[in-house]
């Protein structure tokens, strides 16, 4: 079962774990996952993110470090520095920050 932080949920603190996480609500603080993070269009994340994969359709403010891939979808908005071997920014996405693809 997918972990879902629903639209009306606000978390202020630290989330860690080894399962996929879907954010539809608000998370402030820090997110550390072994697998994938999905920020849906209703999601707002003000947190530093460390994970394997990130897919962003919502709003993210914070530094992102992924061991595999960061994907900013067309409706994603990201302010922060991204470090990952693969970084995809779709047409329409808004992004401000540094990109570091060093392997």
């Amino acid at each position: 079962m997918a972990n879902v932080i629903g639209k009306s949920i606000v978390i202020d603190g630290e989330i860690s774990g080894d399962e996929d996480l879907v954010v539809q609500g608000t998370v402030k603080g820090r997110i550390m996952l072994k697998e994938s993070l999905l920020v849906e269009s209703s999601g707002t994340v003000e947190a530093d993110i460390q994970t394997q994969n990130v897919e962003i359709s919502g709003a993210v403010t914070g530094d992102i470090q992924a061991t595999s891939k960061v994907e900013i979808k067309a409706d994603g908005r990201v302010v922060g520095n991204i470090k990952a071997p693969r970084i995809l920014i779709a047409d329409g996405a808004k992004f401000k920050g540094n990109v570091d693809m060093d392997r």
């Binding site: 949920i9 603190g13 630290e14 989330i15």
Partner: protein, 114 residues
């Protein structure tokens, strides 16, 4: 809100901090800190919660410690392990549940008792 599926904090997830919001929530993982939820919170058998909880309804099947304030009811089910002071109009403790703490149902007892 009622027809929205409940949020789930799964087994492999740990949250440290404050969690608040509306809607139903199921915790199968670990939460430390504070929880304020407008609707129904369920702590499943695998769930471990060390937090002060404010919610409308609370169902506990796992491990929980911290203070509870519920506006509707608290149900501590079989296999639950709870250390808590509970304030709620209805508190149900099932056979097999382990509970340590105070219960305040704000009941007015008839004269002659206590």
């Amino acid at each position: 809100m009622a027809n929205e599926p409940p949020g789930v904090i799964g087994k492999g997830i740990a949250i440290r901090g404050n969690l608040s919001g509306e809607g139903d929530l199921i915790i199968e993982g670990t939460v430390e800190g504070e929880i304020a939820l407008k609707n129904h919170l369920t702590i499943e058998e695998t769930g471990v919660v060390r937090a002060d909880i404010k919610a409308e309804r609370l169902t506990i099947r796992g491990e929980m410690s911290g203070n509870i304030e519920a506006s509707d009811r608290v149900a501590i089910q079989t296999n639950a392990q709870v250390t808590s002071d509970i304030k709620a109009p209805v508190v149900v403790i099932e056979d097999g549940a382990r509970f340590k703490g105070k219960v305040d149902m704000d009941v007015e007892l008839p004269d002659g008792i206590l």
